[in-house]
């Protein structure tokens, strides 16, 4: 078991390193001179050269990378070109906003999608369920930025209930959360339905029914107990993905999180900031994924870590 954990930690570090290195190289290969973004208008080549030196961009790529690694081991990911502060600091300031949004979205998803999925499974192949089925397909078919705008137009602009942008009050989290949750609820409820249908038709359930176990116990204690495992795993994986994936929603709602930060950083070619964001979010996502995987044997007694699963 310890071996497995160590191996996974090693994989996590390696993947984070790989992502960072890839981004590093890609950034420096992109056309356009970042120094131009930080120079006064109509800069002279001397001014540009000075800025490049200041940012360390005049060195060759391998040298830059080594310098970067050197600083990384000292806990320094570089200084943001734009904010002129340690990039890591800037990212960590924004991280709680993104995490809060992701947590809110996943909680709402779980609370709505699970009962919905169970309901859909119990009534599988009925007319009512067909409607819900089509609705969930619709839910995963709408672009998230469009949902965001529609919600904003209806609730913020026309009805004035929520603020149209930014984090102005506690209720500002409602619309972005709903936007994210619509897609996730559609996906997760369909997963719940699939798993429940399989379990409701499984031999052990029929045998339990023959023992006189009540339908309610069969649905929840038997079928759902077994369905919960892949569902919890999926929720964890989606949460990890959300940490990187809420970029669009943050942009639409001007939510002061990491996603909005990185989109602007890309426009401004703020290398250290982009680097820091990638590093932090990838690490966080991998750690969450690792925790989810470690949780698995607690839920399913048939699985032992480190062994090949069936």
């Amino acid at each position: 078991m310890l071996n497995y954990v160590l191996k996974r930690i090693g994989q996590t570090v390696f993947t984070a390193f790989l992502a960072t290195a890839t981004v590093f190289v890609l950034l420096r290969m992109a056309p356009g001179d970042p120094a131009a973004n930080y120079a006064p208008p109509n800069p002279t080549s001397a001014q540009l050269e000075a800025i490049r030196q200041q940012f360390g961009l005049d060195q060759s790529i391998p040298v830059q990378f080594l310098t970067f690694l050197q600083h990384l081991f000292q806990g320094d990911v570089g200084t943001s070109f734009f904010f002129k502060r340690p990039a890591l600091e800037v990212v960590m300031e924004r991280l709680p906003y993104t995490v809060t949004l992701a947590v809110a979205a996943i909680v709402v998803t779980a609370v709505v999608a699970i009962p919905l999925g169970v309901w859909m499974a119990r009534r599988a192949n009925t007319a009512k369920e067909l409607g819900a089925n089509i609705a969930t397909i619709a839910g995963q078919s709408m672009p998230d930025f469009w949902i965001g705008f529609v919600l904003l137009i209806v609730f913020a602009v026309n009805l004035g209930i929520f603020s149209p942008a930014g984090f102005t009050s506690a209720s500002s989290i409602v619309l972005p959360t709903v936007t994210i949750a619509i897609l996730q609820i559609a996906l997760i409820s369909r997963l719940v339905r699939r798993e429940m249908v399989v379990n409701l038709a499984a031999p052990y359930l029929t045998v339990a029914r023959s023992r006189g176990i009540s339908e309610r116990a069969l649905t929840w204690r038997y079928a759902f107990g077994n369905s919960a495992i892949p569902v919890v795993t999926a929720l964890g994986t989606r949460f990890a993905a959300m940490l990187n994936g809420v970029v669009i929603v943050e942009v639409v709602f001007k939510w002061p999180g990491v996603g909005e930060l990185v989109v602007n950083a890309l426009k401004q070619r703020d290398f250290p900031l982009i680097q820091a964001t990638v590093l932090v979010t990838v690490l966080l996502a991998l750690v969450v994924q690792l925790l989810v995987d470690l949780l698995y044997p607690l839920m399913d007694p048939r699985v032992r870590l480190g062994e090949a699963s069936a």
Partner: protein
């Protein structure tokens, strides 16, 4: 004393198919309400509704050059920011006076081309990689599986934005970028299906006959799994359109000859606060309609294929 009824028991093996009518308790109503009949009915409904939705988008887009539409690039400032259903502008106009319907249809051509190309590429690559990994196992499988794992943990949207910034937002670049994002799905499912097919007796028989391995895969194994994989690939078209619109919304989309749907929405982004809701809403409806249509068709087909495979076993 044993009892035996030799002549009276009908040999059901001689009576194929339905035997309704001979004092059967199965009424028309019961049959219509049966699980099997319902499943068939609902998958058909899904496929038709989906086809209509998708068709409502695809047909006008495909005919964009032929339809009598105003110029999508040059607009008349006198007709700036008109709401939908204004004279001559079904979807309204943007601040530059450009007709929204025309922009949506022309931009849609690019979006659709990118989407279709992307799934063709990701489908081919994914099926080939998955089949190789599933059939050969060993180091081939190890490499493919590691690649699949690594890709899962990378921040995809960021990477895609970076690559587009690197190589420029052209149709080939965006297509390849989306294909790269999508190849894991067909690869994974092909690999899983091929792993199962590999153990079947006909594969062993083909080996004994001396068929070359690649020939076995291409001519026998893949065709057997193709139906299920193609449904997945079709569903990827929906995903591709969504991804393309997300990329162009974030500014990394194709701008020439016409901005795609996400780009149009991005252009209208700041304006909805002043009440010009149609610039943001209508292109999104078009995207949603197309994607819902494709997803419904794919889902219905998946039900059909699953039933067909299920009846076989």
């Amino acid at each position: 004393m044993t009892t035996s009824t030799p002549g009276l028991s009908p040999d059901l093996s001689q009576v194929p198919g339905s035997i309704l009518g001979r004092d059967s308790a199965v009424t028309r109503v019961l049959l219509r309400r049966s699980a099997a009949a319902r499943r068939a009915r609902y998958s058909t409904i899904k496929i038709w509704v989906g086809a209509v939705c998708a068709g409502l988008v695809v047909l006008p887009v495909a005919l964009a050059q032929v339809l009598p539409l105003p110029d999508p690039i040059v607009g008349a400032l006198s007709e700036s920011s008109l709401p939908p259903f204004s004279a001559g502008h079904l979807f309204g106009t943007d601040p530059n006076g450009r007709d929204l319907l025309s922009r949506v249809l022309h931009g849609g051509q690019t979006s659709l081309v990118i989407g279709v190309l992307a799934i063709v590429v990701s489908g081919l690559v994914g099926i080939a990689a998955g089949a190789a990994a599933g059939y050969f196992g060993g180091w081939v499988d190890a490499i493919v599986s590691r690649l699949l794992e690594a890709q899962m943990s990378l921040p995809l949207l960021l990477m895609l934005l970076l690559v587009v910034a690197l190589f420029g937002p052209s149709i080939p670049v965006i297509t390849l970028v989306i294909a790269f994002a999508q190849w894991p799905e067909p690869a994974r499912i092909t690999r899983a299906l091929v792993l199962v097919e590999r153990e079947k007796p006909y594969v062993a028989a083909a080996r004994v006959l001396g068929l070359h391995r690649v020939s076995i895969i291409a001519r026998h194994v893949i065709p057997n799994v193709l139906q299920q994989v193609l449904v997945v690939v079709l569903l990827l078209l929906a995903q591709a359109v969504l991804l393309e619109s997300a990329l162009s919304f974030l500014g990394a989309g194709v701008q020439r000859p016409y901005p795609t749907w996400g780009g149009i929405i991005s252009d209208g982004r700041e304006l909805f606060v002043t009440g010009k809701w149609w610039l943001v809403t209508i292109p999104g409806i078009v995207i949603a309609l197309l994607v819902v249509g494709v997803n419904l068709v794919g889902d219905g087909l998946r039900d059909r294929v699953r039933r067909a495979k299920g009846d076989q076993s």
